[in-house]
């Protein structure tokens, strides 16, 4: 258990990085510190291994004040993973994983099997990777090594400072999944700093939301989503998940989320085909994009019509036909800037599965699908869903 008791941090230049932090982190849980940059989340984490010293207040680990301990010893007993991985470039992967056991003067006979065990834990074959250098590994593989290096001496506490932020989206997802899997096995006390709400919701047992050096709200992901403490939390959850950027527009008006336009919701790159393509080519595009109909557009992206898989299969025998011979005209379309409720009404009245967004020059700019609408609703959750739920309640 880690406790923060009235911790303040004021830098020499007078900047107050942390204001009166009181927090208890439960043993064996993954706690995510989240907030915009400059919120103090990383600073708070670094208090735990004394990389940063508080100006006042106390940090206790299992009831013991960490200021009474030797900082180097303390750090060797706490795992540490950083965003830029920080593997030692002049050491092989095997040596990198073994650094903390070496620092702790383990019996060398114990270190080698431990390194192999750890590498297998993250599916990196020791025979293949042990003698390679960090620069020979991909970013995702390097951070896997970064994680197992922190686990090597079996610490109870692991600090992770935006560990997956620098990775590509696919590697990030994979490492998040692996972290969840590892945590189920190991039950470490993990402090995970992130600015990505989706990531925090995915991996954390408890979320600590911070802003301007203060804790704004603490709770499970579920409780924070359902009961945001104030407008900051609401916009942080909502706005962040709308446009993927957390630094701007923290002060966004919640009202503006509710009257979304089709532009925010639409898929911007719907599957299209040019009119002179053959039918077999069209089917190939469909299977590639995993869709059942294609919009026919000319070179200027002017929308000409639509072909469905049923029509294509019907006419498939006619080898000389092209897409323009079998396409149907578009029945319904909306222009950019149309409000979402209006578009949804058109779709539900006409029983459409999708609705093209076409600009004044007749160009296809996007496509509203049921999937994109559901995704959008989820993103502005809980604002809309709660409102929706309360509306239902009133009607009943």
């Amino acid at each position: 258990m880690i406790e923060f008791q009235q911790v303040n941090k004021v830098y020499d230049d007078g900047f107050q990085a942390l204001k009166d932090i009181n927090l208890t982190i439960k043993k064996g849980e993954l706690t995510a510190f989240i907030g915009p940059s400059g919120s103090g989340k990383s600073t708070t984490m670094k208090l735990i291994n004394r990389l940063i010293t508080p100006s006042s207040g106390k940090v206790l680990i299992n009831g013991e004040d960490i200021m009474t301990k030797n900082p180097v010893e303390l750090r060797r007993n706490i795992g540490y993973v950083i965003q830029n991985v920080g593997l030692f470039p002049h050491m092989t992967i095997g040596k990198n994983v073994a650094v903390i056991p070496h620092l702790k003067k383990w019996d060398p006979k114990k270190i080698e099997p431990r390194v192999e065990e750890l590498m297998r834990m993250v599916n990196l074959d020791p025979e293949v990777f042990r003698d390679r250098y960090p620069s020979e590994l991909s970013g995702g593989q390097q951070q896997r090594i970064g994680v197992i290096r922190a686990l090597a001496a079996d610490p109870d506490i692991i600090l992770m400072d935006e560990p997956f932020s620098a990775l590509d989206p696919i590697s990030r997802e994979q490492l998040q999944d692996e972290l969840i899997r590892l945590q189920e096995e190991l039950n470490k006390t993990i402090i995970f700093v992130t600015h990505d709400m989706d990531e925090a919701i995915k991996v954390a047992d408890t979320i600590v939301l911070m802003k301007d050096g203060e804790i704004v709200q603490t709770g499970t992901p579920e409780s924070i989503l359902r009961h945001p403490a104030n407008d900051f939390v609401r916009t942080f959850i909502g706005q962040k998940r709308l446009d993927g950027d957390m630094n701007d527009g923290i002060g966004i008006d919640p009202e503006s989320i509710r009257v979304s336009t089709v532009d925010e919701v639409m898929v911007t790159q719907p599957a299209t085909v040019t009119p002179n393509r053959g039918l077999a080519e069209a089917i190939k595009i469909m299977s590639g994009r995993k869709v059942d109909s294609l919009f026919v557009v000319d070179k200027q992206r002017k929308l000409l019509g639509i072909v469905s898989i049923y029509r294509l299969l019907n006419q498939y025998g006619e080898e000389n036909k092209t897409v323009k011979d079998i396409m149907r005209p578009i029945g319904y379309q909306v222009s950019p800037g149309t409000s979402l409720p209006e578009a949804v009404e058109i779709m539900s009245n006409a029983r459409l599965t999708n609705l093209a967004v076409v600009d004044d020059d007749g160009r296809l700019v996007g496509l509203l699908t049921r999937g994109s609408i559901v995704q959008h609703l989820n993103e502005v959750y809980p604002t809309i869903v709660e409102q929706f739920a309360s509306n239902l309640g009133e009607e009943a």
Partner: protein, 219 residues
């Protein structure tokens, strides 16, 4: 008199000259390493920026003193012979080694240092096990450059009685023997080229091992 018989005849003198030349060079470069590498590390960790500027200014200034003048200045202080020659050439070696040590340490990726600190390397371990190995290609580059220069400059050491290949040149000048002058000069050139090749190879090996490209700061 053919070149071969000349070389045979004077082999003893040439051998001694070469030996002296090597002693002067190796001693001054070693002294340079012993002083400049720790000094460079100290400067990296020194918080008073004015002190860094001052040290680099003095090291630079030493480089600009003409070697003949420096040797002459040292005579009243240290007399003549091997000692003042080694000291003078050591003064020249300071700047390249110091600069490259400093740059090498500065070039270490900050995230590598942050993780080293965070996982429990103390200050000494960070310097010896992380920064120094990663700086070796840089430091070696400085050593190589300075050694090649010093081999060339050491030919002047004979003027204050330190001997070396310069001795052959000076004798040749005095007795108007061209073959002596050429032997001395060629000896220094070949020695410089061989040393450059050898230390260049060491530098490449270090660069390969520590995965960094060295950026040499020329003297």
């Amino acid at each position: 008199m053919s070149i071969l018989t000349f070389l045979q005849e004077r082999a003893g003198d040439i051998g001694i000259a070469l030996q002296e030349h090597l002693i002067i060079t190796v001693s001054s470069v070693l002294l340079g390493c012993i002083i400049s590498i720790p000094l460079g590390i100290l400067l990296v960790y020194n918080r008073f920026k004015w002190l860094n500027s001052a040290v680099f200014f003095i090291a630079n200034l030493l480089q600009t003193i003409p070697s003949l003048a420096l040797l002459a200045i040292l005579i009243p202080l240290l007399g003549i012979g091997l000692k003042p020659a080694i000291i003078a050439l050591f003064l020249y070696s300071i700047m390249p080694i110091l600069r490259n040590t400093y740059d090498g340490f500065q070039s270490v990726d900050p995230s590598v240092l942050e993780s080293a600190r965070g996982i429990g390397y103390d200050a000494k371990q960070r310097i010896l096990k992380i920064q120094l190995p990663l700086s070796l290609p840089y430091i070696m580059s400085g050593v190589r450059i300075t050694t090649v220069y010093i081999i060339s400059w050491a030919t002047l050491a004979t003027l204050i009685g330190a001997g070396g290949l310069g001795q052959l040149i000076v004798s040749g000048l005095g007795t108007n023997k061209l073959e002596l002058i050429i032997t001395g000069a060629l000896g220094a050139i070949v020695l410089a080229l061989l040393t450059d090749a050898l230390l260049g190879w060491v530098e490449r090996m270090l660069t390969k091992k520590y995965g960094r490209t060295s950026s040499a700061t020329t003297a």
